[in-house]
Amino acid sequence: MYLDLNRGREFYKKMLLIRRFEERCVELYSHEKIRGFLHLYIGEEAIAVGIMQALGAEDAVLATYREHGHALARGISANKVMAELYGKAEGASRGRGGSMHIFDAKSRFYGGSAIVGANLPLAVGMALSDKMMQRKRVTVCFFGDGAVAEGEFHESINLTALWQLPVLFVCENNLYGMGTALTISHSETNLARKAAAYRVHSQQVDGMDVLKVAQAAEEAVQRIHSAGGPVFLECLSYRFRAHSMYDAELYREKAEVEEWKTKDPLVLLQKRLETMGLWEETNAQGLEDEVSQIVNEAVDFAEKGTLEPIEDLMKFVYTPKEKQ
């Protein structure tokens, strides 16, 4: 994929937004502004940013419980995401979802799913409808290396291959499912090869390199449009932080984490831009300032947000009459 200043700035800014947004989340968590589980995407920003830029507004996205990055990259406002983390009525899911359940109908963002692997069957059905209705759309489904062991992965990928459905599977292989290493999860650790066994077009991608992800995503979307069937991308990546805020990280060596940090997607992009002599012009400080403002505003917005009235607790168990 061709890198120019515009694209460089855009990708950098998006990744930076996720990074700074989540760093702020950590602070806010320690101040108990955010509660529940909080899974950070830091280190994996290149995946969401690279994939999302290949999508159109009509495409649909299904993400995981580690989905702040996906939500922001999809263009959901930081305000809405932060307000959700605060549990406020102005949040993406009116505070009913929290960190693991960001939803946004406008951008066709179907969550935020906290049962590992359970978004995969939804992707099958979404793509099936598009195919039935002859809509030219792609459904993107994100999931981790851990999810690949679940039965729903097997069942779903078979259906998409069998029925030739327009699904882009994005496996974020960060080498661990919580504290369980890839090697003790899968007899075949090359997950792209695993997917290929279903006769699905599959590929491993350097998930730390936003350009490579972006390129693979564009090719994948194209292929889905032309050939019809699903594509599986295994994005090799790493989670820099703990699994959630409760994790003592006993299962991996500090050195391994440090090693991976040298491949930081932000640093990698910076180096590329430097090599091309575009870094100066990128005006990283300017982007930092912009991003900082977005994050500050989001915190402000969330702080000022209101709480859903307790009388509305039972709302949305069933579709309210007025919406039927």
């Binding site: 899911s93 009116r94 099958v124 069942e155 259906l159 949305f316 069933y318």
Partner: protein, 325 residues
């Protein structure tokens, strides 16, 4: 306008009509197409509508149920058939953690207009992995609606009602009813979801029931009537929501309650009905409420044991006598 057809045909007719009316409706499940449906409900539909809308799935209950949810989210009106209620356990994560929860988790953004049909119930000597009645148990889950058509009319109506509903609706079809025949009026306005129906009026006791047990209860009521006991028989029709109003009205009239259901006794829908009557109409009661449920055993194969385990008209009669003591 009124025809005498089978429960199976009524279901098929309703599915067919819905598919003709609305291109968003389709049927998906194991063997619904080429085989014609495990209980022949969809026989002939593949030929009429093609493999795009009568979809034979591989064996993968979780994925095809989840696919139904995804399709519903994406504008369709899927009907998912799960061959036998026992197999729905393989899809429970999708049904509870997704279908029943998405609307709430998304703050009202994403409703799931999905219909799931399944064959349910014992009495066919199919053993412990094919005979259980989970409808009362599913009724515990907020976000779901649970329908239990007993009559041919309801088999037909409820499919239409379920498809018109914006939220996930599960229909439990007692497999022994598929061959039963009855009158069908296709032009009549259907009794809504959540409304019970009184099949027999009586003054001495109220029998609340649903599904196949309705017929056992009606039979029992005849026997009781010969003994001078006048039983009211009410078909609950919907287990979630329950028609509290109809239940309490009947209790206020008869003051004695008998509930018949095919679930295992402990934690059955009967218990919930008792709990509600206790809460809402305690002082109307002249005697302890009673229930006839399935014995708490994985259903055995041999006929005599299986029949001993499930509700029977004689047991209902006996229990009604106890209740009248």
């Amino acid at each position: 306008m009124s025809e005498n057809i089978s429960y199976r045909e009524a279901l098929r007719m309703a599915i067919r009509e819905a598919m003709l009316e609305d291109e968003r409706v389709f049927l998906m499940g194991e063997d619904v197409g080429h085989y014609g449906g495990a209980y022949a409900v969809s026989m002939g539909l593949l030929k009429e509508f093609g493999a795009q809308r009568i979809i034979d799935t591989p064996l993968c209950e979780s994925a095809f149920t989840g696919a139904g949810i995804g399709a519903a989210l994406n504008g369709m009106r899927p009907i998912v058939e799960i061959m036998t209620a026992n197999f729905s356990l393989l899809a429970l994560d999708q049904i509870i953690n997704n279908a029943a929860s998405l609307l709430h988790m998304s703050g009202g953004q994403f409703n799931v207009p999905l219909v799931i049909r399944m064959a349910s119930g014992g009495g066919k000597q199919l053993g412990a992995q094919h005979s259980h009645s989970f409808e009362g148990w599913f009724a515990h889950i907020p976000g779901l609606k649970i329908l239990t058509p007993a009559t041919v009319q309801d088999a037909y109506d409820m499919l239409h009602l379920a498809l018109a509903d914006p939220d996930p609706v599960l229909i439990f079809e007692n497999a022994l009813l598929y061959n039963s025949k009855g009158a069908l009026e296709t032009q009549k306005k259907a009794l809504p979801i959540g409304k019970a129906f009184q099949h027999r009026s009586g003054k001495d006791l109220s029998i609340f029931t649903y599904g196949i047990s309705l017929f056992k209860a009606l039979e029992a009521a005849e026997t009781l009537s010969a003994e001078g006991i006048d039983a009211e028989v009410i078909d609950l029709r919907s287990l979630r929501p329950l028609d509290d109003e109809a239940i309490m009205a009947s209790v206020a009239k008869t003051h004695r309650v008998l509930i018949v259901d095919e679930g295992w006794r402990s934690g059955s829908i009967s218990a919930e009905i008792m709990a509600r009557i206790n809460e809402q109409a305690f002082f109307e009661l002249d005697a302890p409420m009673r229930r006839v449920c399935t014995e708490e055993v994985p259903l055995p194969y041999s006929q005599h044991l299986e029949q001993a385990a499930i509700p029977q008209s004689e047991k209902i009669v006996d229990m009604a006598r106890t209740l009248m003591e």
